[in-house]
């Protein structure tokens, strides 16, 4: 038994490859917990960042600077009355949010946080990812249908039409990235002219191909990689029904979204699924174009010192966050009413600082690199999502579809063809 557990630790593969069920379950639990925490953090960040964009403060009361707001929201939603419309199809009504949730979470099976830090590494990882994330459309349609009211149905149909059309564009962009794994620019980027890559659909393989080719696919065959990344970045925002493509869920439009009839915990499952999907597609984007878990400039800035510099980043990040927390503590009003909040914030800052210090220790430092850089990049994407929401007006539905089919798809096909040509010719 113990052998079973420790034998995995000495192998250098993912639990899936090693066939180790126990560790696979451990990883699944870790990822599930991590994503859930990330969703709550994202909720908080969205409210705070949006507020600061709009020159206001956001939640400040519930916990210091609103840090406990997501927990309060979760408790509120949990204690709400569970209303099911009288004529609704009960089973479908119940299962729709679950399908969306499962579809969003199952994608994480193939997302690599490091060379061996993935639950498994299917050799058709990308295909799996594309297929599973499309299942959420099914959940959306089921939610609209089961509500037995024509406004949610119209909203669900719109939502599903939008998601399906942008998936095509996403697919084109993804295929361009996959093509790049097997094509080497001859002599480019410092890679020898005679080597050629083996194409791969596995997620870990794609990141490793970026490493071998000494270039992040974002910059490969410039500007093709960039354009493919751009297409994917726009399509992923539309895929997750976020601004500026959030007409199906907008409040000031006539047809309300597919989740109108849901309340309480069921609605929070939709939101959980939406945020999880956002993080999932961002992880895909990071893996395919941004070099996955590699630190910035892995090939141009090489050497011991650079490695050391970059390895200090995780610790510095947490120490920076702790410093911000302590600045917040200093700025808290000196009124006895705020004592508890001040102590809470100071405690939070202390915890962050402690984590930062731990991350400076060499053994931890080396191991945490992959996960840290991956998470940092995905975090950048999350901030971009919030930024879009604050800045852009909404697209009208027909304009939305026009962008998906008449703009992104032709450009995607063009990029694909050009990548193929360049890869063969060069």
């Amino acid at each position: 038994m113990l052998d079973y557990i420790t034998s995995y630790l000495s192998s250098n593969t993912t639990p899936g490859q090693a066939g180790n069920v126990f560790w696979a379950l451990v990883y699944i639990m870790v990822v599930f917990g991590g994503v859930s925490v990330a969703v709550m953090a994202m909720n908080w960040l969205e409210r705070k960042a949006l507020a600061h964009f709009q020159i206001r403060l956001g939640p400040m009361r519930v916990g210091p600077h609103g840090l406990l707001q997501p927990i309060a929201d979760a408790i509120k939603l949990l204690t709400k009355e569970d209303i099911i419309p009288a004529e609704a199809d009960k089973f479908v009504f119940w299962i729709a949010p679950l399908i969306i949730l499962c579809a969003s979470f199952v994608v994480y099976i193939v997302v690599p946080f490091g060379p061996t830090h993935a639950i498994t590494d299917l050799n058709i990882g990308v295909l799996f990812m594309l297929g599973v994330s499309s299942l959420s459309v099914l959940g959306v349609v089921m939610a609209g249908w089961a509500s037995n009211s024509h406004y949610p149905l119209i909203g669900a149909l719109r939502s599903s039409a939008q998601m399906v059309s942008y998936e095509v564009a996403m697919g084109m962009a993804v295929v361009s990235a996959i093509l790049m794994t097997s094509l080497h620019g001859l002599g480019l980027y410092g890679v020898s002219a005679t080597s050629s890559g083996t194409g791969t659909l596995s997620m870990i393989g794609i990141v490793q191909a970026q490493q071998e080719q000494h270039v992040w696919f974002l910059f490969k065959f410039f500007p093709l990689g960039f354009i493919a990344f751009g297409i994917f970045a726009i399509a992923m925002v539309a895929e997750t029904n976020r601004a500026p493509f959030d007409l199906p869920e907008a409040e000031s439009e006539l047809t309300a979204g597919f989740h109108t009839e849901y309340s309480g915990l069921r609605w929070s499952l939709f939101m959980l699924g939406e945020y999880a999907a956002m993080i999932a597609v961002s992880s895909i984007a990071v893996t395919l174009w941004l070099g996955g878990w590699f630190r910035p400039f892995p090939n141009t800035l090489t050497g011991e010192t650079w490695d050391l510099v970059f390895s200090l980043f995780p610790g510095l990040t947490f120490l920076g966050l702790a410093a911000i927390a302590f600045v917040g503590v200093k700025r808290m009003p000196k009124h006895p009413y705020f004592q508890l909040q001040t102590m809470g914030l100071a405690g939070f800052g202390a915890v962050l600082g402690l984590i930062g210090l731990i991350l400076f220790a060499p053994p931890v430092r080396d191991r945490i690199q992959d996960i840290y850089w991956f998470v940092a990049k995905v975090g950048g994407f999350m901030y971009l999502y919030i930024w879009y929401r604050a800045t852009f007006p909404r697209y009208r539905f027909d304009q939305l579809m026009k962008v998906g089919w008449k703009v992104l798809l032709p450009i995607g096909i063009g990029v694909l063809i050009l990548t193929a040509i360049l890869g063969v010719v060069l």
């Binding site: 439009e253 006539l254 800045t391 852009f392 909404r394 697209y395």
Partner: protein, 394 residues
């Protein structure tokens, strides 16, 4: 105004403006069963007040609309017959509560005309400054809510923050932020407070970068352009036939502004331009209002620099008894032509006061503007008409 050629309205058929909702014929069957009647109810996040719009849709396209108004009808004109002229002054603010100062200006000037007295020059300048500040505030509120309806949530907060500065000036001047009751018949009651000019000049320096900020967020934004260009188009002939006024008319290409055509209250002393648009679409109305904001700043600056000394109240009898007669006086409110038709009968109470509300007449044009557009455009067009239900319903 010689550049205005009247369009050929003899041959245009005004009945083309009528919508054929046929709501009172429920038994009439439609061959195309895609037609749907949807109600955008009195309570709605985007209808700027209690406005009910019944839409007849064919799929997504709007075939016709019918507006149901009157939810905010308070009988202001009836109340006027039971109050003296001075007592009615505060009621006037409550109609277009966003631009209360303009309402007061129109009313006071109309009664002054009936009494055949004129406000002293200093009072006129103070009136102009406050009215132009109010125009700016009204346009800022319009911009925030219009952008919010279209989906951009940030300009709302920016415009409201800047509007606070204007409301602070109002509060220092007359004690109220929104329904100001700033003017009296015959002039202004309150002398400008200590530091008024300094505050206004500080405001004039503070605001232009903010207007640039709003423009930066919206004007060249491709999504904004797609949502507003060619949306809610009203042609010049239609605009004149439907009697729309204000920025809506100017965006359709008619260069007409009551401040220049029939100047009132010292506007003839100032040098400013009237922005016009070309297409009559939502984007043009947006540009016209943004430019109007800048022109208002220009007027305020000139007024503050040249404000004359002198009395602020004309010699008005304590008990005001205008002679028997009628008068119609209108001003360029931020929403359009705001007119007061006052019938005096020699007593202290007016015999009849009729308020010609710009939003009421502009709202009529909604039907024409959204024919053939999509549902999402209806909300954009209601926003761009800049209606205030207090004024529509009185």
């Amino acid at each position: 105004m010689s550049d205005l050629k009247t369009p050929d309205l003899k041959t245009a058929d005004p009945t083309r403006f009528l919508s054929h909702l046929e709501l009172d014929q429920p038994d009439k069957t439609f061959l195309d069963s895609n037609e749907l009647v949807i109600n955008m109810g009195p309570q709605h996040p985007a209808t700027h007040g209690v406005l009910r719009v019944i839409l007849k849709l064919d799929g997504e396209k709007v075939l016709g609309t019918e507006c149901v108004i009157g939810y905010l009808h308070r009988g202001v004109e009836k109340i006027a017959e039971n109050r003296t002229y001075t007592m009615f002054n505060p009621y006037v603010d409550r109609m277009d509560y966003v631009a209360a100062v303009s309402n007061g200006l129109g009313y006071c000037e109309a009664v002054e005309k009936l009494l055949n007295i004129e406000a002293p020059p200093r009072a006129k300048y103070i009136r102009v400054i406050l009215t132009e500040l109010n125009r700016l505030a009204s346009h800022q509120l319009w911009l925030g809510t219009h952008a919010l309806d279209i989906g951009a949530m940030t300009p709302l907060f920016y415009t409201f923050r800047d509007r606070e500065e204007i409301l602070k000036i109002f509060e220092k001047y007359c004690g109220a932020r929104l329904t100001t009751h700033a003017f009296r018949i015959g002039g202004c009651q309150y002398e400008t407070y200590e530091g008024f000019e300094r505050d206004v000049i500080k405001f004039l320096d503070f605001v232009p970068p903010k207007i640039d900020e709003y423009e930066e967020l919206l004007t060249t934004n491709r999504i904004w352009l797609e949502r507003t260009k060619n949306v809610g188009v009203i042609s010049r002939a239609d605009a004149i036939a439907l009697g729309v006024t204000g920025p809506v008319l100017r965006a359709s290409g008619v260069k007409w502004d009551l401040r220049k055509a029939q100047p009132y209250a010292a506007y003839s002393d100032f040098d400013f331009e009237i922005p016009i648009g070309t297409n009559g679409d939502t984007y043009d109305r947006y540009s016209v209002r943004m430019e109007e904001m800048r022109q208002s700043l220009r007027i305020i600056r000139q007024a503050v620099e040249r404000i004359p000394e002198g009395p602020i109240m004309a010699k008005v009898p304590k008990v005001m008894k205008p002679p028997v007669g009628e008068i119609y006086h209108s001003i360029e409110a931020p929403k359009g032509e705001l007119g007061y038709f006052i019938v005096g009968d020699g007593s202290t109470q007016p015999y009849r006061i009729r308020v010609r509300p710009p939003s009421f007449v502009n709202l009529q044009a909604l039907d024409v503007m959204v024919r053939g557009a999509l549902v999402a455009d209806v909300i954009a067009v209601i926003g761009t008409l800049d209606i205030v239900l207090g004024e529509v319903d009185r």
